[in-house]
Amino acid sequence: MSDDALPSGERRQLAPPIDDTGALGWMRRNLFSSWANGITTVVLVVAAGWILSGFLEWALFTATFTAATGTECRGGGACWALIREKWRYIFFGSFPYEQHWRPFFAVIAMLAMLVTSADRRMWNWRLLVIWGVGSFITFLLMFGQIHIPLSLFLTIALVVGGFGMSLRKAIAEAGEMNAYRVLAAIGLVGLVLRIAGVLPAWSLAIAPLSYVETSLWGGIPVTIILATYGLAFAFPYGVLLALGRRSNLPLIKGLCVGFIELIRGVPLISLLIMASVMLPLFLPSGTTIDKFLRAQVAVILFAGAYIAEVIRGGLQSLPKGQFEAADAMGLSYPQKTLLIILPQALRVVIPPLINTFIGFFKDTSLVLIIGIFDFLNTANQALVDPNWAGFPAEVYLFAAFVYFIFCYSMSRYSKYLEVELNKGTRR
């Protein structure tokens, strides 16, 4: 039927042209569109096949999978027997051997915590519960015993009450607000009494397992703990630094700029060495801070400065009109920041933010410099055994594979977040 058979003023909607279908069509268009392209394709395929076949020959066909010692492992191929022999040390380090189930389940708990909190539907009060429970299980398994001092309970009461009072002021009902007031009052009065010495140094002891100190921790739980808590604390800290850097108050702005520039200006290694060697010199004699904790704090400070700069980029990308519209409505600074500015700024910086996270996940391996046995360090130590000397490629390949799984998951998660958070907001 021709166009003039249609009522006047209407045009037939034409179907789009049919695509070149099938694998052959695709190959002709993309791989062999000209002589030069065809030759390039063939050469690259041959080269890739040659390299891959060499690798497979080494890694699979001539590889040794079981052997009692390294000397039985000289078949020319890869010695995966070494991994089979050493995997428990590589994963869990010097943690008491018969207790390896503890770091194993600690890792499971942390992964469960991370996976559940990755879901956007959990981003509310549930997140606090997930992290509270997950962290408690993790550290109970790792330490075996946890002593919670009275002052910590009081501090938590004060913080929960205080934040509740200020953040929920607008929307909470009278009963809820009274609960916050009571909590804050108990926390404040209790802490004052505790500091004044009226309340005793009581602590709640939860001790179902034998105590394992942090110097014995090693392997994958150390890497995950350093990265998870490093970034979990560095993130809000980085947000505050970024906001501070844009503040109109010269003192706050100066402090934030100074801190960011100072931390960014030195290598993480020097910061770790400072934390591990120099900090104890400044502390009054007798006080010690756990080495693991010091490394953790160094990672937090370092990551915070980098995250702050990433977030500042997001803040600067917002049009001025967003700030003005929020101001014109009479929103206060915290309301404007939490409800309007940050939700938009953080969306913009998801890719560079996850990039920073991935970088820091790998950078935690630098703690080996101060003698903490993270995953890469335990892998390294597995090579020291004279019975199994001479197979670094296998061990590093294995370590690289494990790191890759974690980093690639983060990268996929970043993709998911971008899609999820921008649902509906794009035209």
Partner: protein, 256 residues
């Protein structure tokens, strides 16, 4: 737009008073010695060439810009650096921007209920009822659960007007509300504004829509180089401009 009868506003109380207001951007004298009295329920249209200070003038009223000399008194409160004062005034003054400035990460409904919930402490359910009734008024209730990016420019600007009205303001400021719109969408926004004017809202509108000025304004103000050059009721303003600069400007925008 129906023609309206001239009203006598001389006995009505002032809601905005500007007394010798001055402002500079660096060396540039953007507002020079502005004196203006806006009565309750009065509709003022401000026009003038670009860079004449008209946007800056209304942005000073809710402190998006800070004036450097003179006094601005809004609803009995003198604007100062006191944050509480500024927030109090902003609760009474709604503003509509040229570029809409809706929050793209929130649905239309959330855009409307945000300020009532957080600033006025209105219960969520009540805020949503108010929001829906206002969306009805601007004739887009069916868009409530969409995001701003999914709406046309005219629809977005109507949402922006509804968002400002959600706070039940006494005064509405419009900063070139139709300048960023495609021509076919200008009318739907102006219709909403005319309706609002009919309900007695105090309005200050920076616009070049002279049809709107004729139909709605009690007073048209012409600004040039930071000064109020001429002001008059619309009939006289358009029929018989006094100042040379006004004549030139009107000639440029009315006859082409």
């Amino acid at each position: 737009m129906a023609a309206k009868a001239a009203r006598d506003l001389s006995n009505v109380a002032s809601v905005i008073e500007l007394k010798s207001v001055n402002k500079w951007f660096g060396q540039f004298h953007v507002l020079s010695d502005i004196n203006l009295d806006v009565k309750e329920g009065e509709k003022i249209v401000i026009c003038g060439p670009s860079g004449s200070g008209k946007s800056t003038l209304i942005r000073c009223i809710n402190r998006l810009e800070e004036h450097q000399a003179g006094d601005i008194i809004v609803d009995g409160v003198t604007l100062s650096n006191d944050v509480k004062n500024i927030e109090a005034i902003r609760r009474e003054v709604g503003m509509v921007f040229q570029s809409f400035n809706l929050f793209p990460h929130l649905t239309i409904l959330d855009n409307l209920t945000l300020a009532p919930i957080w600033v006025k402490k209105m219960p969520k359910k009540e805020a949503e009822e108010v929001a829906m009734s206002l969306l009805n008024r601007v004739r887009i209730p069916e868009q409530a659960l969409k995001y701003p990016g999914q709406l046309s420019g005219g629809q977005q600007q109507r949402v922006a007007i509804a968002r400002a009205l959600c706070m039940r303001p006494k005064i509405m400021l419009f900063d070139e509300p139709t300048s960023a719109l495609d021509p076919e969408m200008v009318k739907e926004v102006l219709d909403v504004m005319v309706e609002l004017a009919g309900e007695g809202m105090t309005m200050m509108v920076v616009t070049h829509e002279m049809g709107f000025a004729r139909a709605v304004a009690d007073r048209v103000i012409f600004m040039d180089r930071g000064e109020i050059v001429e002001q008059n009721e619309p009939e006289a303003f358009f029929a018989n401009p006094q100042n040379e600069r006004t004549k030139l400007f009107l000639g440029q925008i009315l006859h082409h």
